[in-house]
């Protein structure tokens, strides 16, 4: 029963989801919309509780065992509670105040203020690391070790040169050639991969619907 019920639900909702693609009638689309949005949202809300439980359990275990760098776990737990209290009771921003005072003089620490002034800069910092990682990855990728790597190096050289004015000054048709590399061989390769991907998605979906693929149930 523990396995048959999920399989039955997957079969019914999966077939229904596929059928809605062919039936545009609003009565069917409305049910589909409800399943996709409302039901998924309810499930997500429950799983979020499990997620928060997982964070707390994971970090409290670390603190309890005094595992390596356990002090950082305190920061995570305290931040989680503080942001939850501010988010739930402190209001969203100065125009939507909550029941708790979330400002000291002109300094506001509403949840939106915290998000904009802490989360976004921290995320931007992580994102900007990408530039350095790209440089180190490019250095490794563009070493002409074999024919494929040499071809990659040559194509990258042409593309980079074709994208700057210097490229046109050196050789007039270079930008057009760079564009051709992107539009023809590159697109052809991408489409080839995409065909395989779409077929893989189709086959996986069919196998899951028919209960042949049960890895998502933990096997068996």
């Amino acid at each position: 029963m523990q396995k048959k019920l999920p399989l039955f639900l997957v079969l019914v909702t999966g077939i229904f989801g596929a059928v809605t693609y062919f039936i545009p009638h609003h009565s069917i689309q409305a049910v589909d919309e409800t399943i996709r949005n409302d039901v998924m949202r309810i499930i997500a809300a429950f799983s979020l509780v499990l997620g928060v439980g997982s964070i707390l359990q994971h970090h409290f275990t670390k603190i309890q065992r005094k595992a390596a760098n356990w002090q950082y776990s305190w920061i995570t737990v305290v931040t989680l509670f503080v942001s939850a209290i501010i988010g739930l009771f402190g209001g969203i921003d100065p125009t939507h105040p909550g029941i708790l005072p979330t400002h000291i003089g002109n300094f506001s620490f509403h949840i939106q203020t915290l998000f904009v002034n802490m989360m976004i800069p921290l995320a931007a910092t992580m994102f900007s690391l990408l530039a350095f990682f790209m440089a180190s990855a490019a250095y490794r990728a563009f070493r002409a070790r074999n024919f494929s790597a040499t071809l990659l190096l040559a194509a990258a050289f042409v593309l980079m040169l074709g994208a700057v004015p210097l490229g046109r000054m050196i050789f007039h048709p270079l930008p057009s050639f760079a564009e051709w590399i992107l539009a023809v061989p590159n697109t052809a390769a991408k489409r080839g991969i995409n065909f395989g991907v779409q077929l893989g998605i189709f086959a996986t979906s069919l196998k899951i619907l028919l209960g042949i693929e049960r890895g998502w149930l933990g096997g068996g």
Binding site: Q29, L48, L50, A124, G200, G219
Partner: protein
């Protein structure tokens, strides 16, 4: 007053648009009426007023002001079963000219989208091919499947982690459970978890999405139980981190540098954080097996990881690792479906080329 109107009409030199027609939009869920007209021949037109009147009403509602090149408008605010007629007024900067009113039209919801018939035919053909090979796999259990080096390396990579006494990290991507790539990744996680449970290698599965976390936890638990090691499963193996993209990347980078896993699996859907994770993993000296169907992230994984499952290989991995005959039959079916698509593309290209040649006259 009447005289001034007659004078205005006599002085109006603007040509009105012609042939105003209204009809239900086909193959939709209702609520849409398509209004078409032929453009006014005057070059000083600035646009067209589209007006609607419900049958029985006397007033006209303005729907939109369409640009000078427009010759159609979809009224998406129509109520099903209600009759409407439409009026188009061409306007220049100084004048306006009204076309004859359209006939009545009614929006009707459809029970079948005939535009999707090619999709339906394709679905039926591909399903038939897949089911045929799955069925054949029931009888002949020794199907030949080409080698996928990234998957052949799984045992070796996990063995290395076991020998070194270091953990294995499994990242199931940054997408939701609604993404098939995530489901494919979770299928692979099940097989990897069976092996780590067998070898006694610690496994770390930080999750990005709360639903994926819940499913991943059950899969790993089930895998540990299926190989007779339920005691080895702890709640610490799979845990939820955050659903913020770069916060998650920072957390996983932290795990890589602190715990120094001997093997990293980066399998599923990835976005801009792909290279951040893969390069950090490479810098710790871990064996890295990546797999994604995100074409834009594949070059980063190929560069920074030891093995990369490209596109469809991600979907074949679960079958390849489990060696389950029915699943392998599905891969065989995929390969034949691909061959069919290649044939259709080649034949279509040849026909398209032939259409441009003089031979087309004789076809």
């Amino acid at each position: 007053m009447a005289l001034s109107c007659i004078v205005a009409l006599l002085l109006c030199s603007l040509s009105p648009p012609g042939s105003v027609a209204a009809r239900d939009v086909p193959n939709d869920g209702g609520g849409n009426i398509l209004v078409t007209w032929t453009a006014s021949p005057d070059s000083d037109i600035v646009g067209y007023q589209v007006l609607r009147q419900t049958r029985g009403d006397t007033t006209w509602d303005t729907l939109t002001f369409a640009g000078r090149r427009a010759t159609s408008y979809v009224d998406d605010a129509a109520r099903n079963g209600v009759q409407y007629q439409y009026k188009i007024i061409a306007e220049s900067n100084t004048e306006a000219a009204e076309a004859p009113v359209s006939g009545y039209a009614t929006a009707v919801p459809q029970w079948f989208n005939f535009d999707s018939v090619p999709g339906l035919i394709g679905t039926v053909i591909l399903s038939f091919i897949l089911l045929y090979f799955i069925n054949r796999a029931r009888k002949n259990r020794n199907l030949f499947i080409r080698r996928i080096s990234g998957l052949d390396a799984v045992d070796e990579a996990l063995g290395r982690a076991t020998e070194m006494g270091r953990p294995t990290l499994y990242v199931a991507g940054l997408s939701s459970i609604a993404d098939v790539a995530t489901i494919a990744s979770l299928n692979i996680l099940g097989e990897v978890a069976k092996k780590t449970a067998k070898f006694g290698t610690p496994l770390i599965v930080p999750s990005y999405d709360p639903i994926v976390y819940t499913v991943a936890r059950e899969i790993v638990k089930e895998s540990y139980t299926s190989v007779g090691r339920p005691d080895a499963f702890t709640q610490d193996i799979v845990f939820f981190v955050t659903d913020q993209q770069f916060a998650y990347a920072a957390a996983v980078d932290g795990i890589m540098t602190r715990e120094r896993p001997a093997t990293n699996f980066l399998i599923g859907m990835f976005y801009a954080e792909a290279l951040i994770l893969a390069e950090t993993g490479a810098s710790t000296g871990a064996v890295q097996i990546a797999g994604t169907d995100a074409v834009s992230q594949l070059p980063f994984f190929i560069t920074a990881c030891d093995y990369t499952l490209i596109g469809e290989e991600l979907y074949a991995a679960s079958a390849y690792l489990s060696r389950e005959p029915l699943l392998l039959g599905g891969i065989k079916g995929q390969d034949y479906s691909k061959a069919l698509i290649v044939i259709v593309i080649v034949v279509g290209t040849l026909l398209a080329l032939a259409a441009g040649l003089p031979i087309a006259n004789y076809l």
